[in-house]
């Protein structure tokens, strides 16, 4: 009995120590951070889409002005008809070959002769007379390469680059956003309760099994006082709680270590994203600014009464649209994201620290990310 009491005391102390560090008090904070990253990513992508449309429009306009004819390789559509050497394309050749095999198989065994000689470009399975599913997808991928749209080069080849270039603006930065989102989700998964619930349920089931086992042993040994069942039940409760607290502690440590290790990278990524956003916001500002100039210059034509009032209202609106963009661009959102992550890292490093600063910075991040998301996921910002 004395040994059992000692064990209980040790367990209580261990549990007390471990449960002081629970990641679950940060569960909502981490979730908010991940949601903010999601919104910020959406805002950036929205801005990127809008600016890319302007870019593509300008590039295609330039190509249209030059009036260069579009070109494709002579091999394009050869697979469905005949190739440039005059051989049947694969689909025509395979159809021919399937028919030849069918004819060969329909002929009496003694009169068949050699297997059919299929045309050039026949695919292997069909040539060998084997049954197989037709892989149109792979063929489509090859054809998409052959049928690339382009313009004529000096040496009369097809150059798809000017057209491809016109369609794509940013390549690397969207990838940075993807890994940033993945980071946010992973962090939320550590702080989340799913694994904990699974562990709790396993512990409950294990406790039941141990109690059942102890009761059986008590019965077999004829112990009417059920000494083992009582002791095991007590220790089982404490061990279960200790296991949960142990998991909490490990999660907390993981969150602490990960955020501390990630913070310099997050700060760098936030600054890079802020920098890449800047020229895109500038393009939007230039267009909004041009609209404002136009609305003001209309009054040079000396409109009277109601027309003047309408022009004034339009000019004010255009001014607002122009100036608002300075405050809701993703640049500020990413700065706010960096600050929120820093506060989260600090709070996790020192659990005695007040969480007010963390709450405040998360709120600031979420609110800026939401505004930017709402603005930049709209089709256009500027009303002409």
């Amino acid at each position: 009995m004395i040994r059992s009491n000692r064990l209980n005391i040790v367990c209580i102390l261990v549990v007390g120590f471990l449960s002081a560090c629970s990641p679950y008090i940060y569960k909502n904070d981490v979730k908010k951070f991940a949601e903010g990253v999601d919104q910020a990513t959406g805002a950036f992508n929205g801005l990127h889409d809008r600016v890319r449309k302007i870019y593509t429009d300008q590039e295609l306009n330039l190509l249209a002005t030059q009036g260069e004819p579009l070109r494709i390789s002579e091999e394009c559509t050869g697979v469905t008809t005949f190739d440039s050497q005059g051989n049947p394309g694969q689909l025509v050749a395979d159809t021919r070959c399937l028919s030849m095999w069918s004819e060969w198989r329909s002929t009496d065994k003694h009169q068949r002769g050699d297997p059919p000689e299929c045309p050039k470009n026949t695919s292997i399975a069909v040539r060998e007379g084997r049954l197989a599913y037709y892989d149109f997808e792979a063929l489509g991928k090859e054809e998409s390469q052959r049928c690339e749209l382009g313009v004529k080069t000096v040496d009369k080849k097809v150059d798809p680059r000017p057209l491809k270039e016109a369609e794509v603006l940013l390549v690397e930065t969207p990838r940075l956003l993807q890994v940033l989102r993945a980071y946010g989700y992973s962090l939320a998964a550590i702080a989340g309760a799913e694994d904990r619930d699974a562990l709790q349920s396993s512990v409950d089931e294990a406790k039941q099994a141990i109690n059942g086992l102890a009761a059986r042993v008590d019965k077999i040994t004829g112990d009417d006082k059920q000494t083992l069942t009582v002791s095991v039940g007590l220790v089982g409760d404490l061990v279960g709680t200790a296991l949960i607290a142990g998991l909490d502690y490990r999660r907390y440590k993981a969150l602490q270590n990960v955020t501390a290790a990630a913070d310099p990278s997050i700060q760098r990524a936030a600054m890079l994203l802020s920098q890449v956003s800047m020229p895109m916001v500038t393009i939007e500002l230039q267009n909004a600014g041009a609209v404002y100039l136009d609305k003001v210059s209309v009054t040079n034509d000396r409109p009277k009464n109601q027309d003047w009032r309408a022009a004034y209202a339009n000019a004010r609106k255009a001014r607002g649209a122009y100036l608002d963009l300075f405050n809701i661009g993703p640049s500020a959102v990413f700065q706010s994201m960096g600050d929120a992550h820093k506060e989260l890292t600090k709070a996790l490093q020192d659990s005695k620290r007040q969480r007010d600063a963390l709450q405040e910075s998360l709120q600031d991040f979420i609110s800026k990310a939401n505004s930017a998301y709402e603005t930049f996921t709209q089709e256009t910002a500027i009303e002409e």
Binding site: I54, Y55, Q58, E59, L62, L169, L170, V171, E172, T173, R175, L176, V179, L180, A182, Y183, S186, L187, A189, I190, D195, A198, L199, S202, V203, A206, A209, I210, G212, L213, R216, V217, K219, I220, L243, R250, R251, A254, V258, A261, A262, S265, R268, A269, L272, Q275, V276, P279, M280, T282, I283, Q286, A290, L293, D294, V296, S297, N300, D301, R302
Partner: protein, 118 residues
């Protein structure tokens, strides 16, 4: 003689467009009637030219090795987090295994009880 870089041409071209843009803006803001409309069009054309130069710069900024480095760093971190999460789920698995063993012991004890060994 210092070597001329592509960015030097870009800077010169941007400056040229900028000067024309500024002059056009001044005239546009003071003009009226048809002239105002023409100057507006001229301003928008010049703005499109400036933006084309800015798009070239933006594409160059996107190719900055610092961005690739940041992608690699964050990807490494996410892999580390995934590893940490896997280690945590093993705690649940260990308990399940212990539970199974208890189940077997329970069965053995049942048989022992029945045959009256203990």
């Amino acid at each position: 003689m210092p070597q001329i870089k592509p960015s030097d041409y870009m800077t010169t071209a941007t400056d040229e467009v900028g000067i024309a843009l500024r002059t056009t803006r001044t005239e546009w803001l003071a003009a009226s009637g048809q002239k105002r409309i023409e100057l507006k069009q001229a301003y928008n054309d010049l703005l499109a030219r400036l933006q084309r130069l800015m798009f070239r710069d933006l594409k160059q900024i996107d190719r900055d090795p610092q961005i690739k480095q940041a992608i690699d760093d964050l990807r490494d971190l996410t892999i580390l987090i995934a590893k940490a999460r896997r280690e945590m789920t093993t705690a649940t698995k260990a308990i399940k295994r212990a539970q199974n063993i208890i189940g077997y012991v329970d069965k053995i004890l049942g048989i022992i009880g029945k045959v009256g060994i203990v």
